[in-house]
């Protein structure tokens, strides 16, 4: 047999030589061009805007510098907008699926990066009916009509280091230009890789208040929450939520957790610390579901998670987990949505009032009776009963009445 007319042995030697040479040559890492498809030829232009049929202000302009310094800065456009080939773009071709894998390699494993696992967790969660695919610039209005949040609703393409965090970052790493920059030059490195790595040194990407803000963007919106319908497990039908759900953000704010975080004391628990403490923190489930972190059977473990109420798992403290962290009775009744019906009678405030009622009646009634029927003395401002003793012993002066008497006697 021959290969191109050369003997088999010789061809084998040649192939081995080629393989050896190619292995021994320093393989140059593929240069990562952030815009391989030339999308920024147009999309980097400022002012590519129009108003669509529904009146929505649409913009095709992308702030290039922001994009490269943002979370998706190393992801080429077509990794998300996969099918775009032509201009004008067909809307369908630009649809984004957040659960798809992209061409960026996850550095530790060398595998294509993907949000698939997060999307999977999210799809099983209470918010799972929200959009994780089919996202385009044009369907934001349609999406806004729904109740469940989509990926982009909570996660826009934000900077690695937010503008408010930048002074802190610069103060901590004022040497990056000289130290890191001697090898890693250029703004892209500093903005993207530098930001990605060094961000971890000044804290996680989001703190607990950022988490809460994300939840409150929807949950503090009473009007939006009033539109939510939840499935009744017994009847299987969807029903409008009640005040407890609508006011969940308000009731949380009255708890110690909420109040601690409000004053920037990070010991308080954020919404997802209790509702999605594990996994990718997207798996919020209804309280009734067995796997839910807020299910009665799991509450002890949830409360006892790292750095929190460790004693909650002790059987002697079993009542601790029954503390209602969304107690609607903590919200002032002046709130428009708070109920003003018989459901309020079950409140602990009412129970406490019942317990204290006899004392209130006795003391209040006694005071009233004394006011009406009690002996009134002119010039006496202190209590008749024990008033003199109070003046003599506590204030250290002679009561007026006694002083007058002594004066007359004298």
């Amino acid at each position: 047999m021959s290969l191109f007319g050369i003997s088999t042995n010789l061809s084998c030697i040649l192939l081995m030589f080629v393989a050896l040479v190619s292995l021994s040559l320093p393989s140059e890492a593929a240069e990562r061009h952030p815009d391989p498809d030339g999308c920024f030829s147009c999309h980097a232009l400022e002012g590519l805007e129009y108003i669509d049929k529904a009146g929505v202000l649409r913009s095709a302009s992308i702030d290039k510098q922001h994009y490269y310094s943002a979370l998706h800065g190393s992801v080429p456009c077509k990794d998300c907008h996969r099918k775009i080939r032509d201009y004008p773009h067909k809307v369908k071709n630009g649809e984004v699926d957040c659960g798809a894998s992209c061409h960026v390699e996850e550095p530790s494993e060398g595998e294509p990066y993907t949000h698939k696992a997060v999307v999977k967790e999210y799809e099983k969660s209470v918010h799972g009916e929200g959009w994780s695919k089919g996202l385009t610039g044009g369907n934001r209005l349609k999406e806004a009509e729904g109740v469940d949040p989509s990926c982009r609703m909570c996660h826009p393409n934000e900077l690695y280091i937010g503008e408010d965090e930048l002074p802190k970052f610069k103060a901590s790493f004022d040497h990056i230009d000289t130290e890191c920059g001697s090898c890693h030059q250029g703004e892209v490195w500093l903005g993207q890789f530098g930001g990605h790595i060094l961000r971890r040194f000044i804290g996680s990407r989001w703190n607990k208040n950022d988490h809460n803000k994300m939840c409150n963007d929807c949950h503090a919106d009473h009007k939006r929450m009033a539109e939510v319908e939840l499935e009744n497990k017994k009847s299987g039908e969807k029903e409008k939520v009640g005040p407890r759900f609508i006011l969940a953000s308000d009731s949380y704010a009255t708890t110690l957790h909420g109040r601690l975080l409000e004053t920037n004391v990070m010991e308080g628990a954020s919404c997802i610390d209790c509702h999605a403490p594990k996994g990718f923190r997207h798996g919020i489930l209804p309280d009734e579901e067995e796997k839910a972190a807020t299910h009665l059977d799991n509450l002890a473990e949830t409360c006892a998670q790292s750095g929190c109420h460790g004693y909650a798992t002790n059987p002697l403290n079993h009542r601790f987990v029954k503390t209602d962290l969304h107690d609607i009775d903590m919200i002032p009744a002046v709130n428009d949505i708070a109920p003003r019906d018989s459901s309020r009678l079950e409140s602990n405030w009412v129970k406490a009032l019942i317990a204290l009622l006899p004392i209130i009646v006795i003391l209040g009634g006694g005071t009233l009776l004394w006011r009406i029927f009690g002996e009134k003395k002119k010039g006496v401002t202190f209590s008749v009963l024990g008033g003199d003793a109070f003046q003599e012993k506590m204030i250290g002066r002679k009561p007026k009445g006694k002083a007058k008497k002594r004066g007359k006697q004298g």
């Binding site: 498809d37 400022e46 129009y50 992308i62 982009r152």
Partner: protein
């Protein structure tokens, strides 16, 4: 003592001559003063005659018109960061009816046309009268000198040093070009005899039209609309009028463009790409752009 003040006869002649000179100078000023002249667009609107066909078309448009409420506060934010919509202190008369982003229908060109409206007056593309040589200059729409002619930015050629390979790879993309506009909000606008051709919203003519429109019924509105659009062209100047020709419609050098900027305008890849389209509904592969 009571003295009578007498005027010498020769002094009287001098005074008379001086008065005549002053009057003549004043009349001359009135004649040549650009301040007093009407904007050419207004002049043409007032002179134009509307055909029955144009009137019929106008009436149809008035009847079919649907008010558009701009939505920009959706609960779902845009994924990519974008700039806020630009507004200027002075607003053109066109915006009395048209949206600030007026191009909406043509899927292919609307965004690019609206982008141009950031630095080009509507009349630059849509008002090209026959027999009147227009000059294109910078007109301030914003700032303290809003509504005034402004001088171009001095063209500066920046010598760019060749950066190191690594630096070139990473930073070249962020080098911002020197803007051609002398100040934010300035627009290239047509001038006729040193007078801006266009009108702003607050001019008496514009206000008068606005008032008439409010009081008018559909037929009257159609007449007003047709009259206002009579001197205008619906289809503006083609891209190549500025981006392709060696002698473009606009003298960019006079507007302060450097040789590099001029080259960038005339050899614009997007404009060249647009020239490839032959049919209205055609789609072309993007790689042809590169």
């Amino acid at each position: 003592m009571n003295k009578k003040c007498r005027v010498h006869p020769s002094h009287g002649h001098k005074r008379h001559a001086l008065l005549m000179i002053c009057l003549f100078a004043f009349a001359l000023t009135l004649f040549v003063s650009p301040v007093m002249a009407k904007p050419l667009y207004q002049e043409q609107v007032e002179q134009s005659e509307v055909s029955d066909k144009a009137l019929k078309k106008s009436l149809k448009q008035v009847k079919e018109h649907k008010e558009i409420k701009v939505v920009d506060d959706l609960s779902v934010p845009p994924f990519h960061k974008r700039a806020v919509l630009q507004t200027t202190k002075k607003q053109p008369f066109c915006m009395t009816c048209h949206l600030s982003l007026p191009h909406r229908k043509n899927e292919r060109s609307r965004t690019f046309m609206n982008m141009h409206s950031r630095y080009i007056a509507c009349e630059t593309c849509h008002f090209i009268p026959k027999g009147a040589a227009l000059e294109y200059r910078w007109l301030a729409y914003d700032g303290v000198d809003a509504g005034k002619l402004i001088a171009p930015r001095r063209a500066v050629e920046v010598s760019v040093e060749t950066p190191a390979k690594s630096e070139r790879k990473h930073t070249a993309q962020f080098k911002k070009r020197e803007p051609l506009a002398p100040q934010p909000g300035a627009r290239i606008s047509p001038f006729y005899n040193d007078v801006p051709v266009l009108l702003f919203k607050e001019t008496p003519f514009a206000k008068d039209i606005e008032k008439k429109w409010e009081d008018a019924d559909e037929t009257q509105r159609a007449e007003i609309k047709a009259q206002l659009h009579a001197p205008l062209k619906k289809k503006g100047a083609a891209c190549k009028e500025c981006h392709g020709k060696r002698t473009p419609m606009i003298d960019f050098e006079r507007l302060g463009a450097s040789a590099t900027q001029l080259k960038a305008i005339q050899n614009n890849i997007v404009a060249r790409f647009f020239e490839r389209f032959k049919k209205e509904d055609e789609r072309i592969r993007i790689d042809k752009l590169l």
